[in-house]
């Protein structure tokens, strides 16, 4: 003992106190079931299971509303569960007459998914609610359980809003989409099965832009043989906004 310098003793004591306090704190504060099955409290699973359930799950709806299920199962909304729009409905399952799930009819509801947002994929039906039949309820034209369009879209922009919004700012604004794309008849009614065709070679652009071509006389001209013949036009120029590059 005498060999240990005096000043080391309080340090050792403090160290022991700190380590002791740490061990004690772990014993007091760490819940008993912590770490049994992983880095969490095992009891938390039971606590979550004990929470009051509010959702019934889509299968429960099928028992009574088989007609709607049948309609919906063949539609574009087949992947959207009933309670996404109708809200939690377990109470309705338990007491169908006393509790009726909500049926959103206000115009603000459908645009939650179908309002225009540039991060949504091209082709996903998107509208600008302020311009799309203002004041009219969505359901007056679209059946939410089978949301086929009341008529084939008149403009490509109905689905390809992102491209249309860019094109309208460019010198190509006045060109119809069909100037470059061949659209087969079925594309508007079932776009997933009948794709629109895209140009595959430079001749589409050269129709207007090649020197001496028959297309638009005012379009900027190039000599197609000398102008980067190894590349496709859209390797460098974005056709929907060609001024950008």
């Amino acid at each position: 003992m005498s060999k240990i310098p005096q000043q080391v003793i309080p340090i050792i004591i403090i160290l022991m106190v700190v380590v002791g306090a740490f061990i004690a704190a772990r014993n007091i504060f760490v819940p008993e079931s912590f770490g049994e099955q992983g880095h969490f409290r095992t009891e938390a699973i039971q606590e979550n299971m004990d929470l009051e359930q509010v959702y019934a799950g889509a299968d429960a709806c099928y028992d009574c509303h088989d007609d709607i299920v049948e309609t919906k199962s063949g539609s574009y909304h087949k992947g959207v569960a009933c309670e996404v729009c109708h809200g939690p409905a377990l109470q309705h399952i338990d007491a169908p007459d006393e509790f009726t799930p909500r049926a959103p009819r206000e115009r603000g509801y459908c645009p939650l998914c179908h309002g225009y947002n540039p991060s949504r994929p091209s082709g996903f039906p998107q509208i600008i609610a302020e311009r799309h039949n203002p004041g009219k309820a969505c359901m007056s034209c679209h059946n939410p359980h089978n949301p086929l369009l009341p008529h084939a879209p008149e403009e490509c922009a109905a689905c390809h809003r992102d491209i249309a919004s860019v094109k309208i700012l460019s010198h190509h604004a006045t060109l119809p989409c069909t100037q470059c794309h061949t659209i087969e008849k079925g594309h508007k009614s079932s776009p997933k099965f009948t794709k629109a065709h895209k140009p595959t070679d430079n001749s589409t652009c050269e129709y207007c832009h090649n020197k001496g071509s028959n297309g638009n006389k005012l379009a900027p001209k190039i000599n197609a043989e000398e102008h980067s013949d190894r590349y496709l036009c859209w390797d460098c120029h974005y056709p929907h906004y060609p001024e950008a590059y």
Partner: protein
């Protein structure tokens, strides 16, 4: 390329250009996360500077040895506060210690921090001051006397043998402290460098760059603190010490600047798909804070100043002024380094097609005033620490040496 196409569309969203995912428009890591590596870097830098005197026996730095330790402690106490303020719920932070997840670098940092604060800094300061504390506990009167008595922790032996032991153990702690300081700030760089989804951060060089910029900022800080404290106390500064500090600062800056340039060239040469958006970010959003502030004002000008000030034939007054201005510029430069890393890493979209803007709050927990308070607080703590443990006492003992040094220099 794509951002220039659709940018006209997005003029209605201020500060946004190109395509940015909806959850990237607003930055999640604010100025508080800028301050955190800045403060931690100052701690590590100040400590490494102190260790130069202790371990490598750079006697010219003797006047600032204790001051560096106290500065490191003052900044260390505040260093985790920006994180606590940013995360909210500081009352839960202790859970990180009680049930740490070994796969989480953040959780492990708690232990690195605790180790560094308790085992390295506090122990080293205590052993270094022990003899003085015992003397003060005998000399002082009233409550102060008992305060110092408490600080002695009951160890009142100040025989030559005991003091020699203090020195010996202090040296051992410093030797342990150097890798600990490297670990402390290397870890901060690691946190950013290991985020592989972010091309601005993901680089193995980041921890090393952070470490050297920490050393740079620590030395510059000590230069400033030493000059200001000497001026306030009307004492003569050791020109030898200042020259040595300036030299070390210059060398550390050269290494730091080379490493950062290496990182930059490496990125350019690798030319991954992110390079075009990063170039766009550097030439637009980060132009002022990276090119102007960090590189020109914060690195090149002070480096030139230090070369000129240290190796030019100048009168001491001018030299001191050049050192002081250079050190201030270095602080500005290092702060913008942290800014460019933390904020820069969030300004570009992970789609690599667009840029957003950071708008600093003025009020509120993530605001400018909180940031200023967190930057000023360590200075207040340092003032209190120098009242409790005056680092100049030893300087009184070496004052003669300093005067001797100064006279030999002028001769």
């Amino acid at each position: 390329m794509f951002y220039s196409i659709i940018s006209p569309l997005l003029n209605s969203m201020p500060g946004l250009s190109g395509y940015v995912f909806p959850n990237e428009y607003e930055l999640h890591w604010s100025i508080l996360i800028v301050i955190y590596p800045y403060l931690t870097g100052l701690v590590a830098g100040a400590f490494i500077l102190a260790s130069l005197e202790r371990v490598f026996k750079v006697s010219a730095l003797k006047p600032i040895y204790r001051l560096s330790l106290l500065t490191a402690l003052a900044f260390m106490i505040i260093a985790p506060l920006p994180l606590l303020a940013h995360l909210g719920h500081p009352e839960r932070s202790f859970e990180m210690f009680l049930t740490p997840h070994t796969a989480s670098a953040m959780a492990m940092f708690g232990f690195v921090y605790a180790w560094y604060l308790m085992v390295v800094l506090l122990l080293e300061i205590w052993f270094d001051y022990r003899k003085d504390i015992v003397i003060w506990s005998n000399e002082k009167k009233g409550v102060v006397k008992y305060f110092y008595k408490l600080l002695t922790l009951g160890a009142t032996d100040i025989s030559d043998k005991a003091v020699a032991f203090d020195h010996k153990i202090g040296r051992v702690i410093t030797i342990i402290g150097i890798p600990s300081a490297f670990l402390l700030h290397g870890y901060v760089g690691f946190i950013f460098g290991s985020i592989k989804a972010n091309p601005w951060w993901s680089s193995v060089l980041i921890p090393i760059v952070f470490l050297f910029s920490a050393i740079v900022s620590g030395i510059a800080l000590m230069l400033i603190v030493y000059m200001i404290t000497s001026m306030v106390r009307w004492t003569k500064m050791s020109m030898k010490c200042l020259n040595k500090l300036a030299e070390f600062l210059l060398y550390a800056m050269l290494i730091d600047f080379s490493l950062e340039t290496l990182d930059f060239i490496h990125r350019l040469y690798e030319s991954e798909e992110s390079i075009s958006i990063l170039s766009e970010m550097i030439s637009s959003r980060l132009f002022i804070s990276l090119i102007i502030t960090q590189i020109i004002i914060g690195s090149l000008i002070p480096m030139l100043g230090l070369v000129f000030g240290r190796f030019g034939k100048l009168p001491d007054e001018l030299r001191r002024m050049i050192y002081f201005i250079s050190a201030i510029l270095v602080q500005v430069g290092i702060f913008s380094t942290r800014w460019n890393v933390v904020i820069g890493g969030q300004l570009f979209s992970k789609s690599l097609r667009g840029l957003t803007t950071y708008k600093l709050d003025i009020f509120g927990i993530e605001g400018l005033f909180v940031a200023i308070a967190l930057l000023v607080a360590p200075i207040g703590i340092l003032w209190v620490l120098t009242k409790i443990l005056p680092p100049w006492n030893e300087m009184g003992a070496v004052q003669k040496d300093i005067e001797k040094m100064s006279s030999s220099e002028s001769a």
